[in-house]
Amino acid sequence: MDQFAVKVFVRLRPSVLDPAGEATKSASIKLGAEGIKSLRIGKMIEVKIEGNGENEVRGKIDLLCDRLFANTVIEDYEYSLEKL
């Protein structure tokens, strides 16, 4: 069995308003940061997972992302995978 470290990034789709991102952008500007054109908040999920090779693990992660980690009505996801 191989073990993999996976980082999943879940983001609100561009068409979905992100009020938390807007509020953070506003605070960033108040802090004095200049030049911020856009700020959106997402989630990062770290998973350590075992499987027989990368393809099998990718299958498991695809299922998790599609059914649980992200709600594809409002969110997109992508992930990176590293063999340990």
């Binding site: 609100l12 308003l17 009020p19 938390a20 649980l68 709600n71 009505v73 409002i74």
Partner: protein, 221 residues
């Protein structure tokens, strides 16, 4: 003859389950039974309410974890059989997460948790959830949510409009919901999800009775 019984689902973090049960039993004399989320036996209930609250602490997304409970897995057959399911607030979020209703509920536009009474237009009579003897077209119900902004894509909105699935619209949109949507039904009309709380408007002494006919309609065939 069996007595009509409404199952009120209890998740870890539900907090309107007792309000729903009180309103049904105390105001409408409708028998209720609490259903623990681990149960998948729905054979002795005739309708189901998914109450408000914060199931599983709203972890990940509101309603996302509740979707995987044994009870929600068993709900598919229940809905297909034509029995009625009412999702209130967090219950509405669970119904969208689990695909019984389209769209999603996301953070309010102004980021505030809004606790207020709101005026609502009854848009569709599908399922008879809002039929009332006074033939009111506008009702007042309380809302209490941080993530109640209904969101869907334009194709879904068109489908909702074409099939008269929009049940309630806010008169003064408090949270930024698409098309002012406060509640929708499925195509058959036996599943209703709404952000306002009808169970909190069942007695004049606590501010109104406009929630009564929605709860009462649970017993409609």
């Amino acid at each position: 003859m069996d007595i009509f019984t409404v199952g009120v689902v209890v998740f870890p973090g539900s907090n309107c389950d007792r309000d729903v049960s009180w309103a049904l039993e105390g105001c409408l004399d409708i028998r209720t039974k609490y259903l623990w989320h681990e149960s998948s036996d729905l054979s002795d209930v005739d309708a189901i309410v998914l109450p408000g609250g914060f199931s599983y602490g709203d972890y990940l997304r509101c309603g996302a974890i509740a979707r995987f409970s044994p009870l929600i897995n068993a709900l598919d057959e229940f809905v297909k059989s034509g029995k009625r399911v009412l999702g209130i607030c967090n219950g509405f979020q669970i119904l969208t997460e689990s695909g019984f209703l389209p769209g999603a509920l996301v953070a309010n536009k102004n980021l505030n948790f809004i606790c207020d009474d709101v005026e609502l237009d009854i848009v569709s009579s599908k399922g008879g959830w809002f039929n009332n003897v006074d033939e009111k077209q506008t009702i007042k119900l309380p809302i209490a949510h941080g993530e109640g902004r209904y969101h869907c894509d334009s194709d879904t909105l068109k489908n909702l409009l074409d099939n008269e699935l929009i049940a309630l619209r806010y008169k003064n949109n408090p949270n930024g919901s698409s098309f002012d949507i406060a509640g929708i039904t499925n195509e058959k009309g036996n599943v209703l999800g709404l952000m306002p709380h009808p169970e909190r408007a069942c007695d004049e002494t606590i501010g109104g009775t406009d929630g009564l006919f929605t709860l009462k309609s649970l017993i409609l065939k």
